[in-house]
């Protein structure tokens, strides 16, 4: 009993320490953001005269309204299409077991670990030749393709465990394949689909490389790409940079805190399966 109580205490202290380390960068961003713009505050020191005005200034400098809109548009482009296509393909491969399912599946698995840097160069020229540089499509279309291996993999893992009898009985009622998919399998797949949606949202929102290479205008980028541009432009003004970074973080944090349980579950499952 004594050992286990000591263990519990060590555990608690360790956890608190770990949380402190995790939160330290956020705290530092926050405190620094309150210093007068243009200064180089040393370490963690509460400013004599907290400059709350840095936040509205950064909001304006970063053009936050536009950024939010842009990121939202990109997410709206990527996530629904990826989910629909990924679910359909996962259904066909995992449940219908189309002819050649194994080969196709391997083809998709091939892309699971692909580092985006590996294809960014040809992607640039491809997007340029399609006339899509500097449009949101330059981020949306490639991301759908790049997330497809995971989406298919994820949905296949769900459908492969669906009992075949489910479809058999539906077929007896005269449902065609599409109805079978739409009316029976999609509703049953909702938990898998929503986890996938969360992961895709996060990865799209935070996508950096594609944004900085394919889109010059920060107002047409993802949040992460826009933050890169903000750093590029305001990196010389540390308090403003910190304020801007925090603002750009806020939407993700809010959504994360609202849906934290789903997030944690999705991320844990996501990495287990991927």
């Amino acid at each position: 009993m004594i050992t286990s109580r000591r263990e519990a205490w060590t555990g608690r202290v360790l956890l608190i320490f770990l949380m402190a380390v995790t939160l330290l960068p956020f705290l530092s961003l926050f405190v620094t953001a309150l210093h007068p713009s243009g200064t180089y505050p040393a370490g963690l020191a509460w400013p004599d005269d907290p400059q709350w005005g840095n936040f509205p200034r950064a909001f304006e400098a970063a053009n936050m309204g536009e950024l939010l809109k842009s990121s939202a548009l990109i997410v709206l482009g990527v996530v629904p299409i990826s989910i629909v296509l990924g679910t359909m393909a996962g259904f066909a491969i995992g449940h219908l077991r189309v002819i050649g399912a194994r080969v196709i599946f391997l083809l998709f698995v091939l892309g699971l670990t692909l580092p985006f840097e590996g294809v960014i160069t040809p992607l640039y020229y491809q997007i340029r030749d399609m006339g899509l540089l500097n449009t949101r499509w330059a981020i949306i279309l490639p991301l759908i393709g790049l997330f497809m291996p995971f989406s298919v993999f994820w949905m296949r893992a769900h459908f492969v465990n669906m009992p075949g009898e489910l479809s058999e009985s539906a077929r007896m009622d005269g449902a065609n394949v599409w109805q079978l998919f739409r009316r029976i399998h999609v509703p049953l797949a909702m938990p898998a689909i929503s986890s996938l949606g969360i992961l895709l949202f996060l990865w799209t929102w935070n996508q950096f490389l594609l944004a900085i290479v394919l889109v010059d205008d920060p107002a047409k980028r993802t949040m992460s790409g826009a933050l890169g541009a903000f750093q590029g432009q305001w990196g010389t003004d540390i308090p403003l940079l910190c304020a801007g970074s925090l603002l750009i973080l806020t939407p993700t944090l809010v959504i994360f805190l609202l849906f934290q349980r789903h997030f944690v579950k999705a991320l844990l499952q996501g990495s287990l399966k991927g």
Partner: protein, 453 residues
């Protein structure tokens, strides 16, 4: 997993997938439009921005208010012109320049090193405009660095590919209060005197030189090139920068300069964290009075006059011998027009306006802190003599007298700064390279880059 695979038909997937790849057969670049060299298109009358509403796109450098001030004033005078400006730090502009000029051409752009941009036909040949506006009647030295031979080599002669918003110059800024503390009453006249002051500052607990050398920007190139100018003539350095055949940076006098810099780093004359200091940090420290000297350019004099009024001094780098010739890095604040720019005429008109309009020239001096470009007899705004801007303008005249204008050694090739000077200067600070190795490596990289292109 489906176990019963029909081998004959499973290939269908692969066939479909490969169909999409069929396009990947031609050699890269084979069917993309090749930019053509823009010839000297004769411009009959001087172009204007017209009177219809027009939006000119610009790509400027962050942290320097001059272009913004000029475009704002321009719109005031020509209300039909609005500006769509994107800003980035200079290192980012350097990375993006070829890509942006080729695929998203801005009308007016702050340019990094231009040789390769010209070689790839990404910049508009400005000879026609020069004739129409009479730029070719300005003092030739103003435009020398912006002229390039066919294919981008050598620089210093040939067609005009860019223009400056002004003509900036570098030297040593000093903090007058700290200078008084270490007994420096007037700027050092020789290198030995400068060394003495540095030593005194060090023993007085004052950081002798504030410089930046972090990230992708090796700011020690500033003192290095100034030392090169102290030890030797400016001509061979310019030849190297202009890519003249056979030019080398690895000369005996440059070696002395590099060794002198090495001595300074060993003596602790720079901040300890110099390899992590970026330009903005250096500026903020200098303004805060955290160090005595700073090697920098007159583009900051307007800013310093505002932020530390009366307390900033400026001097050219002293020569090694008393009374020797002085030289300084001085170059136009380079702006160019993309080869495929939509509003090239208006951008050219703007560049001409910057050099000739009275108010624009005032802005150029007050905010830019440097000498405006333009005809020799053009209007020159007066500056109060206690301002550091006055000293920098005066120094500009001295340099012209000594024929000591040099371009920046970081501008020799497109990649020499990021890929060679910066990492190697950072290594010099860390004691991983000697002065000789620094020059040998940079020269090898230079040769490799010229061959590669």
């Amino acid at each position: 997993m489906a176990r019963r695979v029909h081998p004959g038909r499973s290939g269908v997937a692969v066939v479909i997938a490969m169909g999409a790849l069929a396009a990947a057969c031609a050699a890269p670049g084979a069917n993309s439009p090749q930019p053509q060299a823009t010839g000297t298109s004769p411009v009959s009358a001087a172009p204007t921005c017209g009177s219809a509403p027009i939006t000119v796109s610009g790509y400027f450098e962050t942290g320097f208010p001059l272009p913004k001030a000029l475009t704002t004033e321009f719109t005031k005078q020509h209300p039909n012109v609005t500006w769509d400006v994107r800003e980035d730090q200079f290192a980012v502009i350097t990375q993006n320049a070829p890509r942006v000029l080729a695929d998203n051409p801005p009308d007016l752009m702050r340019l990094p090193q231009v040789s390769e941009l010209v070689k790839d036909n990404l910049l508009k040949n400005l000879d026609g405009y020069a004739q129409a506006f009479g730029w070719d009647k300005w003092p030739a030295s103003q435009l020398e660095q912006l002229r390039l031979g066919p294919g981008g080599r050598p620089r210093g002669e040939g067609s005009l590919y860019a223009l400056g918003l002004n003509f900036s110059m570098t030297g040593i800024f000093y903090n007058k209060k700290l200078a008084a503390q270490v007994g420096m009453t007037k700027p050092p006249a020789t290198l030995a005197e400068l060394d003495q002051v540095l030593g005194k500052a060090k023993s007085a607990g004052i950081t002798p030189i504030l410089q930046f050398n972090g990230g992708a920007t090796g700011g020690l190139a500033f003192p290095l090139q100034n030392l090169m100018a102290s030890y030797g003539p400016a001509g061979p350095i310019n030849d190297w920068i202009f890519q003249k055949p056979g030019a080398t940076i690895d000369t005996p006098s440059n070696l002395q300069a590099a060794q002198h810099l090495e001595k300074w780093t060993k003596a602790g004359y720079f901040q300890k964290d110099i390899n992590a200091v970026d330009y903005a940090t250096m500026m903020s420290r200098f303004i805060d009075g955290k160090g005595l000297f700073m090697f920098n350019g007159d583009w900051e004099s307007g800013n310093l006059d505002k932020q530390m009024p009366g307390n900033a001094g400026f001097s050219l780098m002293p020569p090694a011998q008393q009374g020797g010739k002085r030289a300084a890095m001085s170059a136009p604040l380079t702006f160019g027009i993309a080869a495929n720019a939509k509003n090239a005429d208006c951008a050219a008109f703007f560049l001409n306006w910057v050099a000739t309009d009275k108010r624009a020239r005032e802005i150029g001096v007050e905010i830019g802190g440097s000498r405006p470009m333009g005809p020799a007899d053009a209007y020159m705004p007066a500056v109060a003599s206690d301002k550091v801007t006055a000293s920098t303008l005066e120094a500009g005249a001295d340099i012209a007298g000594d024929n000591g204008a040099m371009d920046f050694i970081a501008n020799a090739t497109g990649a020499i700064y990021a890929k060679s000077w910066t990492p190697n200067l950072q290594k010099l600070v860390a004691g991983q390279l000697t002065a000789q190795e620094l020059l040998t490596k940079v020269q090898a990289d230079y040769t490799g880059q010229l061959e590669g292109n």
